[in-house]
Amino acid sequence: MNCDDCNGSRRRFLHDAGAAALGMSLGGLATPYDPLLADELRGRNKQVLLLWLAGGSSQLETWDPKPGRPTGGPFKAIPTVTPGVHISELMPKMAKIMDRTAIVRSLDTRIADHGTAAELMETGRTREPRLVYPDLGTVIAKELAQRDAQVPDYVSLYLATEGHRRPNPGFLGGRYAAMHLNRSLKPENIDRPEGVSEVDHADREHLREYLSERFNRAREATEVKGYNSTYARVRGLMRSDTIFDLEQEPAEVRDRYGRTDFGEHALIARRLIEAGVPMVKVARAWWDSHADNFESHRELVTELDHVMSTLLLDLEARGLLSSTLVVTLSEFGRTPDINKDVGRDHFASAWSFSLSGCGVRGGSVHGKTDDDGRTVADGKAGPGDVMATIYKAVGVDPTLHYEVGLRPVPLAPEDSAPIETVLA
C-alpha cells in the first residue's frame, strides 16, 4: 500500500464524514449560524427555550395574583393588553406584551421537595427505580435536532450553586446529553489544547475516525457508530464557543437585557436560539423565599419581568419567536399563607407556568384557582400535561413512544394530555 492510496482513502472518507469535515475543509470560513443561510438551507425549525425558575417562584407574585385577599400579599394586580387578564403589578412590561404569552394557573403536582419536584417537572413523571427518564430538554434535543448541526443540540446554563441540577439524558443516553455550563460561561474543553495546531487537531481526528471505521467494518455496531458521531461533532462544538461570547453583542443590546447575570444568560440564550440550538435551558436560581417573600420577589420578579419581556421582544424582532417556544417553569409554587418569617413556603397544589411563542395562543389563560389560591378550582393540570403541551406546541407528538429494551415508553405519560386552551 503506498501513500497515494492512503491519501485517496483519506479524501474519500473526508467526503463521507459529512458536513463536519466539509466545514473544516472550507478553512472554517462557513459561518453555520448565519440565520438567513440557516433558514435557507433547512427552513426554520422549532426550538425551545426553558427559563427554569429554580427554587419555586411564587404564582401569587407573578401570574396569579390575589390582591385584597388575606393570602394575596401587598402586590396588586394590573391589567394586561389582553382584556380580562391580570397579572402581578411586579410585571408591568410583560403586561404590555401579554398577547404573546399564555398562562396556566391550575397546576397541581403534589410533590413539594426541591429535588423530587424538579425531577418530576423535568421529566413529567415520578421516578421509577429501573427506568431513568430523560429530561424534557434531552427529548426536545433528540426530536428537534438537525442531522448535520454545527452547534450543540442542547445547552443548559445553571450558574449558581443552590439547587444546581445537571440535565439527565436518562435512557436516551449520551448522544443528546446537554452541554452544561455551571461554573463559568465558557463551555468546558472547547479550546484547542496548547501545542496542537488547527491542522493537527483535524488530521488526527481523521485518522481516529478512519481507524474506528475500519474496526467497525466487520461489526456494524451501533455503539461504535454513535461513538464516532460524537467525535464528528467536536469541531462544530469548538466553533460554537463564540456564541457564548457576549463581547460579540453591541453594547446597546447588552444594556437592554441588563448587566445582571440573568440578563446576560438570557442574551446568550437568544444567541444560541439564533444559532439554531434546538434546546436551551437557562436557570435563574434561587427563588426559595421562605423568609421575606415580598422583598425577595420584588427583586426577582422585577428582574424576570424585564429580562423576559426583553427576550421575547428581541426574539420577535429577529423573526425567531414564531418558531421558538419560551417556557417559564419552576419545580413548584409558593404557599398562599404567609409564615412567621414573612415568607411563603413550598406549595404544589395550585400554581402556574407560562408559555410564549411557537404554537402558543397568546393572551390565553387556562385554569383557575380559588379566591385565596389554595386549591385549583378549574382546569387541573399535572406534570405530564406540562410535557404534553410543550411537545405539541413545537410539533412533537406526545404519544410517540421510545423503545427501551422491550418496553415502549411514551414521551408524555399515558394519562396526560396537551392543554389545548393555550395552544394555537
Binding site: 500500500m1 503506498n2 501513500c3 492512503c6 491519501n7 421509577e128 427505580p129 429501573r130 450543540p152 439524558p169 435512557f171 436516551l172 443516553g173 449520551g174 448522544r175 446529553a177 452541554m179 468546558e188 474543553n189 472547547i190 479550546d191 484547542r192 489544547p193 496548547e194 501545542g195 496542537v196 493537527d200 487537531h201 488530521d203 488526527r204 481526528e205 485518522l207 481516529r208 478512519y210 481507524l211 474506528s212 474496526f215 467497525n216 466487520a218 461489526r219 456494524e220 455496531a221 455503539e223 461504535v224 454513535g226 461513538y227 464516532n228 460524537t230 467525535y231 461533532r233 467536536v234 462544538l237 469548538m238 427501551v404 429494551g405
Partner: protein, 539 residues
C-alpha cells in the same frame, strides 16, 4: 490446588496469611456450562460465532478480571506461549492476582450499592473481602448483620447505614442486590405483570427491616445500627383493606415470631440499658431471620449472584434484566442458571471459582464479529460476544498504562510479587484518578457524549499523556527509527495485538507525512489510537 504452599501475602496491612482461592473444579464447571449452552443452541437451531483469537481473548479477560488492558509485554508473551492450556492458566492467574480484588471490588460496589456506589469505606471492605477470598454468603451476612465491632468490620455496615432513613429504599436495594428482584411496584399494588409479587411480598420483606434503626446511646457516644424489640408494618391494600404485614420472604415462606412473654430478667436488663444509655439487642432479630431464611432457601440468593456475574462477563444476564428474576421471566438457557446456582451454593459460595469457570467456558471466548451472512443474532442466544464499553475506571487506567513508560510490569527477574503487583495497580489508579469524571459511564445501551469527546480532544490532562515525555510511549515511538517497528510498537502497546500489514502502512504513511515533526506525529498517532473505537470497547 492441594499441595500448594501457603503464600504469605502482605496486602493493605493485613497481617494474616491469605491462601490462594480454591479453584478446584472450575474447569469442570466450564465444561458443564458448555454442555447446557450447546444443547440449547442445537434445540433452537443456531450456530455460534467463531472463537475469539488469542489477542482478543487476553485483552477481554484482562479487562474483565484486572480492570485494565494487558501490557505490551503481557500481550506479546501470550502470543508466544504455545501451550495448549494457556487460556485457562491465564484465567487462573488473573483470578488469583491481587488486581482481581482491586478491580472486582468496583464491580461489586456498583452491583450492591447501585446509585450509592463510590463510598470509600465500603469499597475498601470489598477489596479486603475479595482479597481474603471471602465467600458470598459471608459477605451477605457481614453487610446485613455484622459483627461491626472493629473499625475494619464497621465498613461493611455502610450499606445499611446509608439506607436507615428509608425502609423502602433499604428493602428495594437489598432485594435487588442480593435476590435479583425489584419489588418496588408491588408496594402499591400486586405487581401488574408478575404473579409472584404481591403487596404481601413487598411488605413481608420490608418487615424484616422495619425494626432496624440507628441507636445513638448516651450523648451520641455509642452510635450503631440496632434493632427494636417490637414494631409492625401495617398497610392498606389496593382494595382498601387494612392489613398487618407478616414476616415473609420473597419465596412466600413466612417466619413465625415467637410470642413475647414477661421475663423478669429481661425487664431488668432493659431497665439497666435504659438507665446507662447502652444498647440491648432484642431477643428476636428480624434481620437475622432474613439472612437465615434467604440462605436456607438458597435458590434466589445463589442464582442472583450467578446471574450478575454471568451478566458482567458476557454482557447479558441469563435472566435479563438482572433484577427481574421471576417466573414470568425465564432464563435464556434452560437449566443452566439453576445448575450453576446449586453448584455455587454447594461449593461454599466461592466467587472466584465461579468467575474462573465462566471465563473458561465457550460462550465467554466467542468472537464479537459475526462471520455469517444475514443479520446479527439476538443477544439472548449468546452466540456472539457483544461490544461492551470500558467503564470510566477501566478506560482511565488503560489510557495511563498504554501511554506510559512500561514501568508497570518492569521486574528484575520476570516474576512479580503479588504485593508489588497490587502496588503498581494502585499507582495506575492514582495517576488515572483525574480522568475518571470526564468519561462516559457504562450502561445498558451505552451512548457516548460529546462531553467525553471534547475532553479527549482538548483537555490538557489527555494531551499530557500522549505527548512525548521521558520514556513514555510517544517518546519511544519518536525515537524508533524504523517505521515498521514503530507500527508494531504502537499497535502492540495500545491495541494489545499484532498489527496487520495494512495498519503498518497506515502508520508508516502517517509518520512520513509528518516527517518534519516526528514528535508531534507520534503524539497524534497515539492520540488517534487511544481514542479509536477499538480501544474504547471491550470486544
Amino acid at each position: 490446588m492441594s499441595g500448594w504452599p501457603l503464600l504469605l501475602v502482605l496486602v493493605g496491612g493485613a497481617p494474616s496469611a491469605t491462601p490462594p482461592p480454591h479453584l478446584d473444579g472450575a474447569t469442570q464447571v466450564a465444561v458443564k456450562i458448555d454442555e447446557f449452552v450447546e444443547r440449547h443452541w442445537r434445540s433452537i437451531g443456531v450456530r455460534p460465532a467463531e472463537p475469539a483469537d488469542d489477542a482478543t481473548f487476553l485483552r477481554r479477560v484482562t479487562l474483565d478480571l484486572a480492570g485494565r488492558i494487558p501490557s505490551r509485554r503481557e500481550a506479546q508473551a501470550f502470543e508466544q506461549d504455545t501451550s495448549a492450556d494457556k487460556r485457562a492458566r491465564t484465567v487462573r492467574k488473573l483470578v488469583e492476582s491481587p488486581e482481581f480484588a482491586l478491580h472486582f471490588a468496583n464491580v461489586f460496589d456498583e452491583s450492591i450499592q447501585g446509585g450509592r456506589a463510590g463510598d470509600g469505606e465500603f469499597l475498601a471492605w470489598l477489596r479486603d473481602s475479595l482479597q481474603a477470598h471471602k465467600p458470598w454468603d459471608q459477605m451477605f451476612r457481614e453487610v446485613l448483620l455484622g459483627p461491626w465491632d472493629t473499625g475494619d468490620r464497621k465498613r461493611a455496615e455502610r450499606f445499611l447505614a446509608r439506607r436507615l432513613a428509608n425502609v423502602d429504599e433499604l428493602t428495594n436495594d437489598t432485594s435487588r442486590a442480593f435476590f435479583g428482584v425489584d419489588v418496588t411496584c408491588a408496594k402499591c399494588h400486586d405487581h401488574p405483570l408478575v404473579d409472584d409479587w404481591k403487596q404481601d411480598h413487598y411488605y413481608g420483606l420490608s418487615s424484616f427491616f422495619n425494626r432496624t434503626y440507628e441507636f445513638k446511646g448516651k450523648d451520641n457516644k455509642d452510635s450503631r445500627i440496632g434493632e427494636k424489640e417490637a414494631g409492625e408494618i401495617e398497610f392498606v391494600t389496593r382494595g382498601g383493606e387494612n392489613r398487618k404485614a407478616r414476616l415473609m420472604f420473597l419465596s412466600g415462606q413466612v417466619v413465625e415470631e415467637p410470642p413475647t412473654f414477661d421475663d423478669a430478667r429481661l425487664a431488668e436488663q432493659r431497665e439497666r440499658a435504659k438507665k446507662d444509655g447502652t444498647y440491648l439487642p432484642p431477643p428476636f432479630s428480624r434481620r437475622e431471620q432474613l439472612v437465615r431464611v434467604a440462605l436456607e432457601q438458597r435458590m434466589m440468593f445463589s442464582r442472583s449472584l450467578v446471574n450478575r456475574l454471568w451478566a458482567y462477563l458476557t454482557g447479558r444476564g441469563l435472566v435479563h434484566p438482572v433484577d427481574q428474576m421471576h417466573s414470568a421471566n425465564a432464563p435464556a438457557v434452560p437449566g443452566l442458571l439453576e445448575w450453576l446456582g446449586d453448584d455455587l451454593a454447594d461449593h461454599g459460595y466461592n466467587i472466584e471459582r465461579l468467575v474462573a469457570a465462566i471465563c473458561t467456558c465457550r460462550v465467554y471466548a466467542l468472537a464479537s464479529h459475526w462471520p455469517y451472512p444475514g443479520t446479527r443474532p439476538a443477544p439472548e442466544q449468546f452466540t456472539l460476544a457483544p461490544l461492551r464499553p470500558l467503564s470510566p475506571k477501566q478506560l482511565a487506567i488503560s489510557l495511563v498504562l498504554a501511554t506510559g513508560d512500561e514501568s508497570f510490569d518492569e521486574s528484575p527477574n520476570g516474576a512479580m510479587e503479588p504485593a508489588a503487583r497490587a502496588e503498581r495497580h494502585r499507582q495506575l489508579e492514582g495517576q488515572a484518578g483525574g480522568l475518571v469524571e470526564w468519561l462516559d459511564p457504562r450502561s445498558d445501551a451505552f451512548q457516548s457524549s460529546t462531553g467525553e469527546a471534547l475532553f479527549m480532544s482538548n483537555h490538557p490532562a489527555l494531551q499530557k499523556l500522549v505527548k512525548p515525555d521521558g520514556g513514555n510511549l510517544a517518546a519511544r515511538l519518536a525515537q524508533t527509527v524504523d517505521n515498521a517497528q514503530l507500527g508494531e510498537l504502537v499497535t502492540w502497546t495500545v491495541f494489545s495485538r499484532r498489527p496487520v500489514v495494512e495498519e503498518l502502512s497506515i502508520c508508516a504513511d502517517w509518520v512520513v507525512r509528518h516527517e518534519a515533526d516526528r514528535a508531534t506525529a507520534c503524539r497524534d498517532l497515539v492520540w488517534a489510537l487511544v481514542t479509536s473505537a477499538e480501544f474504547r470497547f471491550n470486544h
